[in-house]
């Protein structure tokens, strides 16, 4: 099966899916389940450097929908499927379809803009401005400008633009990457030795930040640098640093207090 997702111009999950379905002309459901998963994983890895959490979750969501649709197909009979679930599935699917169509629409619109720019770009505008003999006529543009206003303008130019207030939208992009969180944990955890996940994330306001921490914890666990224990379902996770860096046994309580403070 000529099936590859390692295209150089990849632009996010919708783009990938569009390519898979339209450009590649494959019937997604003829492709093996593992090929889809491998494809996503390979893509995720290839763009890891610039991957933000939002894109990653979008990938997961789409992968999940695809896998669910696919499993449905593999499972026998409708009897064991709740009607609500069935409807929810169709809803998901329709939503995905609508979003794909929207994405495709703007891709094509972008193509039209490109052609317009290419055409317009062959002409260059005259921007010469006033000849010297008229320069004296123009009203003084510094009218009303004081030295103080000049200073204020500089302050403004030198100050980083204010971040827009938090978009309450739940999809508001939070700019924390898993890699950053891993780096933070590698610095923090050897110091504290043991800590519960609840405590580790107590100070974080955004749910996404907590999720990023969680992904980072899983990553470190996978790397064998961290042990996770959980007493029971929904109990807090106990984390213990076991690899590299600080000595996890020496005075963890003291360090923990320090962290909590």
């Amino acid at each position: 099966m000529p099936y590859t997702v390692s295209t150089p111009v990849f632009e996010g999950p919708f783009d990938l899916l569009l390519q898979l379905i339209t450009r590649e002309q494959v019937d997604l459901w003829e492709v093996s389940l593992s090929a889809i998963v491998d494809g996503y994983v390979a893509t995720l890895e290839s763009i890891q450097a610039g991957l933000d959490l939002e894109t990653a979750t979008e990938f997961l969501l789409i992968a999940a929908v695809l896998l669910e649709i696919k499993t449905r197909r593999l499972l026998p009979g409708p009897d064991d499927v709740e009607l609500d679930e069935e409807l929810a599935l169709w809803e998901e699917r329709d939503l995905l379809l609508a979003r794909l169509l929207e994405c495709k629409t703007f891709k094509d619109a972008a193509g039209a803009l490109t052609r317009m720019m290419d055409n317009a770009g062959r002409s260059y505008a005259r921007t010469a401005g006033l000849e010297e003999r008229f320069a004296g006529l123009a009203p003084d543009p510094l009218e009303g400008v004081t030295a103080e206003r000049l200073r204020d303008a500089l302050q403004l130019a030198l100050t980083p633009r204010p971040r827009p207030r938090v978009d309450l939208d739940h999809v508001a992009p939070v700019r924390v990457s898993v890699a950053d969180a891993v780096a933070e944990l590698v610095e923090e955890l050897p110091r504290v030795g043991r800590i519960t996940f609840g405590r580790l994330t107590a100070a974080l306001g955004e749910r996404l930040e907590v999720i990023v921490r969680f992904l980072a914890v899983l990553e470190l666990c996978k790397q064998g640098r961290l042990e996770i224990e959980q007493a029971g379902n929904f109990a807090d996770l106990h984390l213990r640093w076991i690899g590299g860096g600080g000595d996890g046994g020496a005075g963890p309580d003291l360090a923990l207090e320090e962290y909590a403070g």
Binding site: T105, F106, A110, A112, L113, M117, N119, R126, V171
Partner: protein
Amino acid sequence: MASESQRAIEAILMVADHPIEAGLLAQVLEVSPSRVEELCAELRASYEADDRGFSIVRVAGGYRYQSHPDLAPYVERFVLEGRHARLSAAALETLAIVAYKQPISRAQVSAIRGVSADGVLRTLEQRGYVAEVGRDPGPGQAVLYGTTGALLERLGLDSLAQLPPLGQFVPGPEVVEALERGLRADAAARPGGSADPAAGGDALSAGPLDDSDG
């Protein structure tokens, strides 16, 4: 022979550094704006008839001189650095979304593209093609973005109304079908499931597509 008004328009546009609105030319010439439009059209035609290396065009709501597209190779040799840098595919898609859906928030752009739009929007803002045009009145007061006159100039358009209607780009039935096929859960095999293959049509009309050229 050129009329006094035509000559005055030529002289004024020659010293302008941005497109000049017909209204301002009309004020200076003491004629009506529609007369200015006629005069500019006549000038344009006469340059064309004389096979000049330049033209008068109407972009971003005003008139300006520009070089004839034929002569781009010479002009580009002269400007060397190639002023018209190309935008990335991501930037163009984002630009298309902002152009057709403005005013639009960052989060809404991200939602349509499925990837964060922060970096791309910043680039477009730096290029001067996109600017903050207001705040969402709702909670959070998200910054709303729109396109600028500089974008119109770059596209060679007089106004946003000249953008081709978005409906023109809505994928045709073959694509919709291909996408539907791709996403089909084979529910047809199961009685009781919503097996209607036309369900995708609902999705289309219920989707956030908007034909308005905003």
